[in-house]
């Protein structure tokens, strides 16, 4: 922990001098590391984000996972049983979303700004494949998507805490759960001042599988038939070994 704090202090100092020397940069920010490795023992992680501003202001941090096309299905009753009926497709839906700020965004950012920068889950923009869907249907599926992703801990309705120090330094821990999707994430940092965005920065973050897990996944997806054969050979050997071991006893 102390090592972490030391690094933080060092990097913030570096950031400050950079900001001070360049005068024109009102906001600098960076991540403790730009790579989250999902290893075999992965149970979720926190990534430290730190930065500095050139004076008072409010900081908002958005984390967005890679976009993906998704299908949402709704269940309906067929006789006695419930089964999937109609479905709706959405384009480029962020696979992860969280917000952090030093205050309540409502207090310093107008509704229009929050909507434009998609600050807060209620302002997340979703694109339906079928544009002709009625507003009612769209909002129903929208609510369902937000609810499902919140249940999976991939969307966070709560605003995370950003600590501000002397109106200059800020830091926050970005949390990623065990089931976090892989891909390139974008961490957007906004500095609000006098009811407008004074400065913004985007930092990429790569979340990827590393080690045996990653190799197994790549193997399964790139060389399916060979993977299947290996799986069968492992099973046959294991079955044979088990029988041989217990025959002796």
């Amino acid at each position: 922990m102390s090592a972490r704090l030391f690094i933080l202090a060092l990097m913030c100092a570096a950031g400050l001098t950079r900001a001070a020397s360049a005068q024109t940069v009102p906001l600098v920010a960076d991540l403790e590391n730009h790579l989250v490795a999902i290893t075999t023992g992965f149970t979720g992680t926190d990534v430290l984000l730190f930065g500095a501003t050139d004076g008072p202001g409010d900081v908002v941090i958005l984390v967005r996972g890679p976009g993906e096309d998704i299908t949402l299905r709704r269940k309906e009753r067929f006789g006695p049983i419930w089964a999937n009926a109609e479905s709706v497709e959405l384009r480029d839906v962020p696979s992860f979303y969280s917000v952090a700020s030093n205050g309540e965004p409502e207090d310093f950012a107008s509704f229009r700004l929050r909507e434009r920068y998609q600050i807060g889950l209620e302002n997340l923009r979703l694109t339906f494949e079928d544009q002709r869907l009625s507003a009612d249907v769209q909002s129903e599926y929208r609510d369902a998507l937000l609810r499902l992703n919140q249940d999976r801990n991939l969307y966070n309705a709560e605003i995370g805490r950003v600590s501000l120090l002397a109106n200059r330094l800020f830091r926050t821990e970005l949390h990623f759960p065990a089931n976090v999707p892989t891909g390139i994430y974008f961490v957007e940092i906004y500095l609000f001042r006098n009811g407008d965005v004074a400065s913004a920065e985007i930092v990429p973050l790569s979340i990827s599988k590393i080690g045996i897990g990653a190799e197994v996944y790549d193997f399964a997806h790139n060389l399916g038939p060979l993977y299947g054969l290996v799986a069968i050979i492992i099973a046959v050997l294991a079955g044979w070994a088990a029988e041989a071991a217990f025959r002796r006893t």
Binding site: G41, L72, G228
Partner: protein
């Protein structure tokens, strides 16, 4: 201790999975069943995606049927000729099953079909097994306890089945029947095995005894022989077409399963057959009811994610 499953893309407690493997292995050793029909629903209950549960279970069954099949092979309880014909039917069936699986998955109906198949088959087999074993226990109570109770219904009836063409002689089974029969049985069980993630022994064994009229002592060995090839084929096809075989999960299940099966087999030798079968029937019916309840009960969440076009 958590472990990340690379294909299921989730973290699970390693001891939970080992324990599940052990518990199902114990039951399979105790009752002489494969256990796939219990393991696949259990995996789904703990949150493994149904498609991955089915694909991975096929892989695990390869191992358990190799180890069980070898025991029967040594005792000479495998009718190779019958096994080969069943396997041909089974290979075609599992191919059809995996293709069907892929189509249903795209339509978003695979979970429904898996659940429905389980409810129908577990319900029917559980009820039959319960009825038959309770009957045996009642008769034993009424009858002179020194007399043995005859339970197995042998062959010998002559029906339309014996009029089918392509007759083949199966020496070990002492049968002279149409090859279409075992081909058909193998085919249907192959489809089931691919869709439900089971070996299919619980359908195959009754079909071999009652439909084909095979002698009981070669039934288990021959069905295990066939299951090895059909589940190996299913594993290969699921890995190729759907990428839903998680070897890490399969290995964990395997370790628990092997140990559990040995304990179960030893425990089973001390208990009485009919009572065991009543117990198994109750477990089967319990799983069936649970799945049926989930189908009928109003879901708490009406919406779900579907696979986005592959």
């Amino acid at each position: 201790m958590q472990i990340y499953l690379p294909i299921a893309e989730m973290s699970v407690n390693i001891f939970l999975i080992l324990g599940m493997g052990g518990a199902v292995g114990l039951l399979s050793g105790l009752f002489g069943v494969g256990g796939g029909f219990l393991m696949t629903p259990l995996l789904i209950f703990v949150g493994v995606p149904p498609a991955v549960a089915v694909g991975t279970e096929a892989n695990q069954i390869v191992a358990s049927s190799v180890s069980g099949g070898l025991v029967h092979w040594r005792r000479g309880n495998v009718d190779l000729r019958m096994g080969a014909v069943l396997t041909v039917g089974g290979l075609v069936g599992s191919g059809v099953g995996v293709a069907l699986f892929s189509v249903l998955r795209g339509l978003g109906q695979i979970e429904l079909v898996i659940s429905l198949s389980y409810v129908v088959f577990l319900g029917a087999i559980g009820a039959l097994m319960f009825y038959e074993s309770v009957n045996v226990i009642m008769r034993r109570r009424r009858a002179d306890p020194s007399k043995p109770v005859i339970t197995a219904r042998g062959p010998g009836r002559h029906t339309w089945i014996h009029g089918l063409p392509f007759k083949m002689r199966f020496r070990k089974s002492k049968l002279y029947i149409s090859a279409l029969l075992p081909l058909g049985v193998g085919f249907l069980v192959g489809i089931l095995a691919a869709i439900m993630g089971v070996g299919g022994g619980f359908v195959m064994v009754p079909a071999m005894i009652y439909l084909l009229g095979m002698p009981t002592q070669v039934v288990i060995g021959t069905s295990l022989f066939q299951i090895i090839f059909v589940t190996a084929n299913t594993t290969f096809l699921q890995a190729t077409v759907n990428q839903t075989v998680d070897v890490v999960l399969a290995i964990l299940l395997l370790i628990g399963g092997v140990l559990g099966a040995q304990v179960g087999a030893r425990l089973g030798a001390k208990l009485r057959g009919e009572q065991l079968r009543v117990l198994l029937a109750l477990i089967v019916l319990g799983v069936c009811l649970r799945l049926a309840f989930d189908l009928v009960a109003t879901p708490a969440e009406m919406f779900s994610f579907g696979d986005a076009g592959g």
